[in-house]
């Protein structure tokens, strides 16, 4: 299971714009590198990322081989209501990781 680091403020004022940072452990093998045996190393990347706030998608990204290993993404959202923010990464070889962070909005 890949580790992920999520940085979401635990508390926010209603209407405040908060920054969300996500970092996930993944080699992001490009598919363009040659291995020791002279053969191409097959591609192994995360290709999709979705962030939902209480079940509603607020940010989505399509990643390519040009994203660095251990993909890092930051984006913003308006703190609307208390609840859960979920993060889902999917990619080659059936890769899937899901993380959740709680937020209290007052």
């Amino acid at each position: 299971m890949a580790r992920a680091l999520i940085n979401v403020p635990a508390k926010a004022a209603r209407g405040e714009i908060i920054e969300i940072k996500t970092l996930i452990q993944h080699p992001m093998e490009t598919g363009f590198r040659v291995g020791y045996n002279g053969a191409m190393i097959p591609r192994d990347i995360i290709s999709n990322f979705v962030c939902a706030y209480n079940g509603v998608e607020i940010f989505r990204a399509e990643l390519s081989s040009a994203i660095a290993s251990n993909p890092f993404l930051t984006f913003t959202t308006v703190a609307a209501e208390s609840g859960e923010i979920t993060f889902k990464w999917t990619g080659d070889n059936g890769f899937e990781a899901i993380e959740t962070a709680g937020i209290t909005v007052a």
Partner: protein, 160 residues
């Protein structure tokens, strides 16, 4: 007949020696590179994403260090001038490059709930090149910003 290359009798300075080492390191990298996206391939990819709509220059700020410390991991931030209201907001930000094996870097989809059109990630750059970010607005218009980056090569690498 004189030989084409004569061995130098002058002791190379340390600076020369360092340059020699640098050249050798660069050579090692070149051999490990395969196909690369050409500027034409990048233009074709941009056309595919925009559907051929005109792309105006402006509103998009692309923040990448001009001199990249290592092309394997390059911090990149994109921000777009937009009120981010339901009526007027950024729908997507697409990033392209000229010289990686493929022209696309990342596509990010956002909306008024973002509050601000400001995103960042870390990318791989195979070479010194131009990076272009294109924002797709809710009114259907496309805006772009670009950055020229110089990618240096680490002097000390592992044997491949």
């Amino acid at each position: 007949m004189k030989p084409l290359i004569q061995p130098s009798r002058i002791q190379p300075s340390r600076r020369r020696f360092m340059a020699g080492a640098a050249g050798a390191a660069a050579l090692q990298i070149v051999t490990s590179r395969g196909a690369s996206a050409t500027p034409e391939a990048m233009r074709a990819e941009i056309t595919r994403v925009t559907g051929g709509a005109p792309v105006r220059s402006g509103k998009v700020a692309l923040d990448i260090p001009q001199l990249v410390e290592n092309g394997n991991t390059v911090s990149m931030a994109v921000s777009v001038e937009s009120p981010m209201t339901p009526a007027d907001h950024v729908k997507a930000i697409h990033v392209f490059n000229e010289k990686n094996p493929q022209p696309q870097v990342i596509s990010m989809y956002l909306g008024p709930r973002a509050g601000r059109a400001a995103v960042s990630t870390r990318i791989k750059l195979a070479d010194t090149q131009k990076i272009i970010a294109i924002a797709q607005m809710s009114d259907g218009s496309f805006w772009s910003g670009s950055a020229d980056v110089i990618v240096t090569i680490a002097a000390c690498l592992e044997d491949l």
